[in-house]
């Protein structure tokens, strides 16, 4: 189900200036562009990890940031599921504890089922007791995604989740992302510099360069060759 997403803000950091003016209804908003264009900064702004000059950030019915109304929800209350590019899995916890870190049994109701669904979706049952350092790249990626999902987030923020993976792995993880989009109905903001990925997942694409929006609009339907 598409969800109203408002990303309308200004970020200034040293010489860097990032402006967004998107108000859309979408399931997956993709941010596309070369490195340094500000894609990661957008995700971090949604997650509450950056100070903004002014603007509004809304996901669904929740306002995360509204400079006009003096709203700036602290990062730990935003309920965003952020999967950073470097994953940042907690080294001192095993896979299970990593995944469950953000899960709160009281609020999410029937969370045991929700957890089961996530673990099955990402095929993580065999890895639960393993140390994070023992996993392969693709496995770690899935753990990071699962960890973000167990918080039952308003929105999933994914920063180049497939970039570090080889072609074969990419082909195996992309379907997971599609299933998350389709089966969990969690909206996503998805960063990539790969057109094919973007076309496979997104329904709205924002193309950035140097902090400015070059183009934004509905994604083109994926051509049958790309999966």
């Amino acid at each position: 189900m598409p969800v109203p997403i408002t990303l309308d803000f200004l970020l200034c950091q040293g010489d860097f200036r990032l402006e967004m003016h998107e108000r859309v209804e979408a399931r997956v908003v993709a941010l596309f562009g070369p490195s340094g264009s500000g894609k990661t900064s957008v995700l971090e702004s949604i997650a509450g990890l950056r100070s903004l000059e002014r603007g509004e950030i809304r996901i669904g019915s929740r306002t995360l940031y509204d400079s006009g109304a003096g709203v700036d929800v602290p990062s730990h209350r935003r309920k965003v599921g952020y999967v950073p590019q470097d994953l940042t899995l907690f080294p001192h916890m095993n896979v299970k504890r990593n995944i469950l870190y953000g899960a709160r049994s009281d609020r999410d109701g029937g969370s045991a089922e929700g957890l089961e669904q996530i673990l099955s979706l990402l095929e993580l049952h065999p890895f639960l007791d393993r140390r994070v350092g023992d996993l392969s790249g693709g496995e770690r990626q899935r753990v990071a995604i699962a960890r973000a999902l167990t918080t039952a987030p308003l929105v999933l923020l994914l920063d180049e989740p497939l970039t570090a993976l080889d072609r074969g792995l990419r082909a195996r993880v992309l379907p997971y992302l599609k299933r998350i989009r389709d089966e969990l109905a969690t909206p996503m903001v998805y960063v990539s510099h790969d057109e094919a990925e973007v076309r496979a997942l997104a329904d709205w694409v924002v193309e950035l360069d140097g902090g400015r929006t070059i183009r934004s609009g509905p994604a083109l339907t994926p051509s049958p060759k790309i999966t």
């Binding site: 990890l49 990062s75 730990h76 907690f90 918080t151």
Partner: protein, 218 residues
């Protein structure tokens, strides 16, 4: 005399342990604040914490007497409650904790500074309050630094003399190994002094062995 020696040694070790436990909460808190937070007066705080390291221990001892003596700002109210600090075991713990704290803070702070802030940030996005981040992410990842600091603080408290003799006196009931060695030498009891010296060296040796095992098994 053996009974005495054992009593003094046991007292020294147990009071140093207590001093270490006492210095841990404020030490960890200070280390974390100095590692992570910017605020006006931060340099002052840093200096204040380092003071016992830089001042002559006797001077620190005098300051402690001034604060915790019966007429002092802290000692007065405590005395009203029937709690005496000076010339009791509490003074030994106090001196040990105050002298060991700077060492604990230094090592623990280095431990916290080495924790990648990224982990703390991401933990926050997963819904962890700042308090939970500290307890589940920062502190566990800084564990080695904190433990090293605790060991340093403990060793310092174990061998503490200058401040201890000021604030705990050279009473038989509060006599630590260091104070005992001083007293025995002052009064010409060579044999006793030498025995205490040997005990002190053994404990220090044992502590060092332990700390090395800690460091290598980490």
């Amino acid at each position: 005399m053996t009974g005495d020696v054992l009593a003094i040694a046991w007292r020294t070790v147990s009071l140093a342990s207590l001093a270490t436990l006492v210095m841990l909460p404020p030490g960890i808190a200070l280390a974390w604040i100095l590692a992570r937070r910017q605020f006006p007066g931060r340099a002052m705080l840093e200096t204040l914490v380092s003071l016992p390291l830089v001042m002559p221990p006797v001077a620190t001892g005098l300051m402690l007497i001034w604060m915790f003596g019966r007429r002092g700002p802290l000692g007065g109210p405590l005395s009203q409650l029937g709690i005496d600090v000076m010339f009791t075991w509490r003074a030994v713990v106090l001196a040990g904790a105050v002298m060991g704290l700077p060492l604990l803070v230094r090592a623990a702070r280095a431990g916290f500074e080495q924790v990648d802030r990224r982990y703390e940030e991401i933990a926050g996005t997963l819904g962890a309050s700042p308090r939970r981040v500290f307890l589940t992410i920062s502190l566990p990842l800084a564990k080695r630094g904190v433990l090293a600091g605790a060991l340093l603080g403990f060793s310092r408290a174990l061998g503490e003399f200058g401040a201890t003799i000021m604030v705990a006196g050279a009473l038989p009931s509060t006599r630590t190994i260091a104070v005992a060695i001083y007293s025995y030498t002052e009064t010409g009891q060579e044999a006793a002094a030498t025995t205490m010296l040997a005990v002190s060296a053994s404990i220090a040796f044992g502590a060092l062995l332990l700390s090395n095992r800690f460091a290598s098994s980490a």
